[in-house]
Amino acid sequence: MPGSGTAASAAIGAEPHIIVRNLTMAYGSFVLMRDLNFTVKRGDIFVIMGGSGCGKSTLMRHLVGLKEPAAGEIFYRDFNFTRAQPHERELMLRRFGILYQSGALWSSMTLAENVGLPLEEFTNLTPEQIRKIASLKLALVGLKGFEDFYPSEISGGMQKRAGLARAMALDPEVLFFDEPSAGLDPISSRLLDELILELRDSLGATIVVVTHELASIFTIANNSVFLDAESRTQIATGDPHEMLAHSTDPRVRKFLTRGAEKNGAENSHG
């Protein structure tokens, strides 16, 4: 399995991991975004940003195969994810970990069962081993002792962290986060950011985050794509810090400075 610790530091800026080519996203005949082209490198923390309703989450749904592209292709290294056979794709999916916006924990299972299910399904571990690993993953997200709670019995922030524990169950190569800070207080949100950084460094995983939280973006991201609803395509890619420093596009500047063009630049860096 992936995630050998040694790769972590060397991996940043290394080979391309996710390649999106000429992707067009559409609902029926309504085109949401067209001509998306970007590359996520191994070990990147890649942010998909843009205003509300511009298709950030939809782009993530495409990346994990929940929605089929209207045109274009998605590659994971050399593997053509869009054109792959269902069973090949299933194998690829096992290397993904996904944290959904609301956590999406399976409500009829306890936290330990939630985290343990992927292990139960895809490994030959014994129930005791599974239980141990589930406890470990829950401990990693600060939920030690909550193994036998049901998702409805814990708070929203805890559900999110438990969702993250489940996403990490199979030591994924790629972690997807859909609006990780939505519905969290600033401190929890900050802790989650630190956890994301920690995961990248310890697992060497490539991380894709959908968010519009500026504080979060500048803390974690080293690469990004900026989607614009008006022109229905990407208008910038690259390191958000660079974007803030050098971008001349008023839409990008406006977003990255919270609309305060002039004096926002210096402040947001901190």
Binding site: S102, A104, R166
Partner: protein, 382 residues
């Protein structure tokens, strides 16, 4: 002037027209809870020749206002814009001016209204037909996938949790016995009453036993059980799966490489297929007891004669027929419930719709299947 008097003064408007300026004098209390003057009278004035070049406001007589005034002013302003008349907001209080500016800050997106417009009848009929054909294709795909999953289940290769399966068996079997017995008993009583009134006239009241026995075993037992289970279990399946769809739990299965069809639908459908025939058998028995109750209390038959008569009418084939129906109905209810749950939209009201549609769909399918069975049994001379 006292406070109460001024509060009672309704909002009113006076128009002063000098050659190029139309001055709107707003007086009194402009609150939505009162009858406010319509903007149309002012707008009509704007269209009178020669048109004014400037519209200005005088609010010195205005004693109170809320959204009613703002919407009035917005209407007037948009009419002014259309005609190229300048509006002079100087005379308006600062609060009103700011709200108007806020309302106009984000211009209307082009095409927003077009999407919401009402389609013509032809377009709607066409859309509906297309939606039906898509729905039919979805149904067949689902049926096909489910068949494959069932084949895997039979070969012991399907991935699902035994606990889920047993839980659904518990919910759709033992827990349904109470309501099924009640309804079956009543149906037996009703059948017996209907028959008794007629048969008594010929002194053939013993044949009530035949009527109830055959009626329950061949049709009513399975049918009534199916209708109860549609409302009880089918709706529950749709609501549960629909909610899981809304909370992205189903997505979480898919992206984990676990087929939600195998994991969620299969144990549910299999549990129903397993439990329905048993429930039907039970309903048959209770229905017959209901008939016997009427026979004993109303027709002075003894329990043993009633039962002997009932048993003498049965054939093995009757039983098998009833069981086959029960199994089929179970599959249909499970299918409808799970399909509607999977097709659920992304809101809480969609979950309600999914449950409703699941019940309607399964009852329709059950009754249609009942008809098909009747024709088939007739041809086969069973």
């Amino acid at each position: 002037m006292s406070m109460t008097q001024s509060q009672l003064r309704q909002g009113s408007i006076a128009l002063d027209r000098s050659d190029s300026t139309l001055r709107l004098r707003l007086n009194g209390h402009w609150h939505l809870s009162r009858d406010l003057p319509a903007a149309s009278s002012v707008i009509a004035e704007l269209f009178k020749q020669p048109a004014p070049r400037v519209v200005s406001f005088d609010t010195s007589g205005l004693s109170g206002w809320d959204s009613g005034l703002i919407s009035f002013l917005l209407e007037v302003e948009s009419a002014c814009r259309e005609r190229g008349i300048k509006d002079d907001r100087e005379g308006l209080p600062a609060g009103i001016r700011r709200l108007i500016e806020l309302a106009e800050a984000v211009p209307e997106k082009e095409g927003t209204r077009a999407a919401a417009r009402r389609a013509s009848i032809l377009e709607r009929v066409g859309d509906r037909v297309l939606a039906y054909s898509v729905g039919m294709a979805d149904f067949l795909t689902f049926l096909g996938d489910l068949s494959i999953a069932m084949f895997k289940f039979v070969r012991g290769k399907a991935r699902y949790r035994t606990f889920d399966f047993m839980e659904t068996v518990q919910q759709s079997g033992p827990e349904a016995v109470g309501i099924v017995s009640l309804i079956a008993f009543l149906v037996g009583v009703i059948l017996a009453f209907m028959g008794a009134v007629q048969l008594q006239q010929f002194g053939a009241s013993i044949y009530v036993a035949d009527l109830v026995g055959i009626g329950m075993v061949r049709d009513m037992g399975a049918m009534m059980t199916a209708i109860i289970m549609s409302g009880r279990t089918g709706a529950a399946f749709a609501a549960k799966l629909g909610t899981m769809k809304v909370t992205q739990e189903i997505d979480a299965f898919t992206t984990m490489g676990i087929s939600p069809l195998e994991f969620l639908v299969l144990p549910r459908v299999m549990a129903l297929i397993l439990m329905m025939p048993l429930l039907c058998l039970f309903a048959d028995l209770v229905g017959i007891l209901g008939g016997a109750f009427v026979g004993i209390t109303m027709l002075d038959l003894s329990f043993s004669t009633y039962m002997r008569e009932t048993i003498s009418t049965f054939t093995f084939v009757n039983f098998i027929g009833g069981l086959a129906k029960g199994t089929t109905y179970g599959a249909l209810i499970g299918l409808a419930g799970c399909l509607r749950g999977f097709q659920c939209g992304n809101s809480s009201s969609a979950v309600g719709d999914a449950a409703t549609q699941a019940v309607v769909m399964s009852i329709v399918m059950v009754v249609a299947a009942c008809g098909a069975f009747a024709v088939a049994f007739n041809i086969l001379r069973i």
